[in-house]
Symmetry: C2
Subunit: 134 residues, 2 copies
């Protein structure tokens, strides 16, 4: 007997059984990171109120913060019109979502124009990653 909640039927997973999930800071609106979820991680996220992703590289559930301490409390879960992207509005523990020790993974900005543009790191490291993953 399946115990999968009814609302899961509206979620469109890709051929690998995954859906991209955006984590947005519930307080200031900053986009923190994008990761992937499978059915199990999405169900656990909804049930526990803590962000759980699917690590494509490690091929296992990734309970955000289990190593870094930088867990995410989920205030809101949203689904887009196509049903194929999840949005999580979260409180980010420690104010750091990125493994580089920055608040957000989106710390590179395209500066300059056309052929001479370049990705420039514009956000500071808040904590040395060696102190996060020790």
């Amino acid at each position: 007997m399946s115990t999968e909640p009814d609302w899961m039927a509206d979620v469109v997973f890709d051929a690998d059984g995954l859906i991209p999930a955006i984590a947005q800071d519930a307080e200031n609106g900053q986009i923190l990171m994008v990761a992937w979820m499978n059915r199990e991680s999405l169900a656990e996220t909804a049930a526990t109120g803590r962000a759980v992703y699917w690590s494509r590289s490690r091929k296992k559930l990734w309970r955000k913060g289990e190593e870094s301490g930088h867990a995410q409390q989920v205030h809101e879960l949203r689904l887009d019109c196509d049903g194929d992207v999840i949005l999580l509005k979260v409180h980010q523990n420690g104010g750091i979502a990125c493994h580089t020790g920055r608040a957000s993974c989106f710390y590179r900005r395209l500066d300059g124009t056309s052929q001479r543009a370049a990705w420039v790191t514009v956000d500071p490291v808040l904590k040395d990653p060696e102190l996060i993953y020790k």
Copy 2:
């Protein structure tokens, strides 16, 4: 001779040559939509300052707003730490990004707990889609 800009080398496209792109309202931080880009659409977006996506269903460039009028002026382009997600901070023409006539595609929120939760539409339609696509 390739005229592809150097910064394109840092962008990681998937096996289909695509990368997900998040459009965020530059003024209020609202996440408007997620679509896909190929190299050509990303290059044109950077060159013109107007959001251009790749339509996976129509298999062609999708110059956002070409039918709806709801174009997006790009204020900032960002790349995440893995290089495999693009973030666009945009001004949304008409204040409507979604084909349903809503500001954002993320208008469904998971309300309730556990097995009894459901996706609830919480954002209003600002303009009848029949008046947008006429």
